[in-house]
Assembly symmetry: C2
Homo-oligomer: 156 residues x 2
DNA sequence: GTTAATGCAAACGTTTTGCACAGGC
DNA sequence: GCCTGTGCAAAACGTTTGCATTAAC
């Protein structure tokens, strides 16, 4: 997965200006292995930038996605983003429905899939959803303490 | 895949009233094997019902989805619907990016996937996208005639 | 100094809601 | 006749756009 520095470097190489906000975004995604919605990002950024507007966040997320430093997937709840994985290393993800951390799966099923006669395969989606170890334990604890595990970071 | 009659029957069994619009919806999904967006459905229904409103279409799509007669998947362009497949017969789909027809894949990769230690798998998504035989040919023809293959029906 | 990024406001498309009326059961 | 489904209007929501100001290069 791209590091904070790699994200900044790529943006700079492409002629984008490295503003303070973009540094913070790069850091957020470089250090966070889960998926974040535009709203999550906005709320996080708000803590640091008081007069922040939605549109800047959206614009930056879009630019960063177009640039390829962020990848987005469509959940039922909407589109979410995380730092791109290394393209050379094709893989899929286990995604925790609670904390949204991702765990890589090396196995890619597309090669084992035989398409009917004339069908030309161009892309595929393989995602496995469930609950990671931590969140299962947290859920058990939660039942007693009603504390919530909302951190969205540090795996993959 | 559920037939028009099965859709109507299920809705009736669940205490829903079978209005003329709902009959038409059931027929639309019972006979159409591709994915349709709410807008597609609305536009189709408009031909038959002049004073039709968006909200009724949305309400019915939602009700039918909650009831389980429709399944929805999230494309980049938004949410789309089609009649539910038989639950007993778990399978995945090849989806044509042009005409959105679906072709079943018996192969399910989830059993071949080993999750890390404590991860509890609850659901998965495996979809293969590409272009079906017809649309590849149509594309070649299209280059000359610029005719478009917009029908969204009759396979799976 | 030039050009791109930002904040603001307003627009846009999609989906949801409340309510009165029409229609299935 | 009861209660659900419908149409209408308006609101909510997420996202995008145009423009003047600000800041990176």
């Amino acid at each position: 997965m791209l590091s904070t520095e790699q994200i900044i470097e790529t943006m700079s190489e492409q002629g984008l200006r490295i503003t303070d906000q973009r540094k913070t975004l790069a850091k957020l995604f470089g250090e966070n292995k889960g998926y974040l919605s535009a709203k999550d990002v906005y709320e996080f950024m708000c803590k640091k930038y008081s007069g922040l507007s939605f549109d800047t966040v959206y614009r930056n997320l879009r630019v960063m996605h177009e640039l390829g430093v962020l990848e987005q997937i469509v959940f039922e709840e909407g589109i979410k983003f995380k730092a791109s994985c290394n393209q050379d290393d094709h893989h899929h993800h286990l995604i925790c429905l609670q904390c949204q951390k991702t765990y890589p799966i090396r196995f890619c099923p597309v090669d084992l899939t035989d398409a009917p006669d004339g069908f030309k395969v161009v892309k595929h989606k393989f995602e496995v959803f469930g609950y990671c170890k931590d969140c299962q334990q947290a859920d058990t604890i939660e039942a007693k303490t009603s504390e919530r595990s909302d951190n969205k970071s540090e795996v993959s």
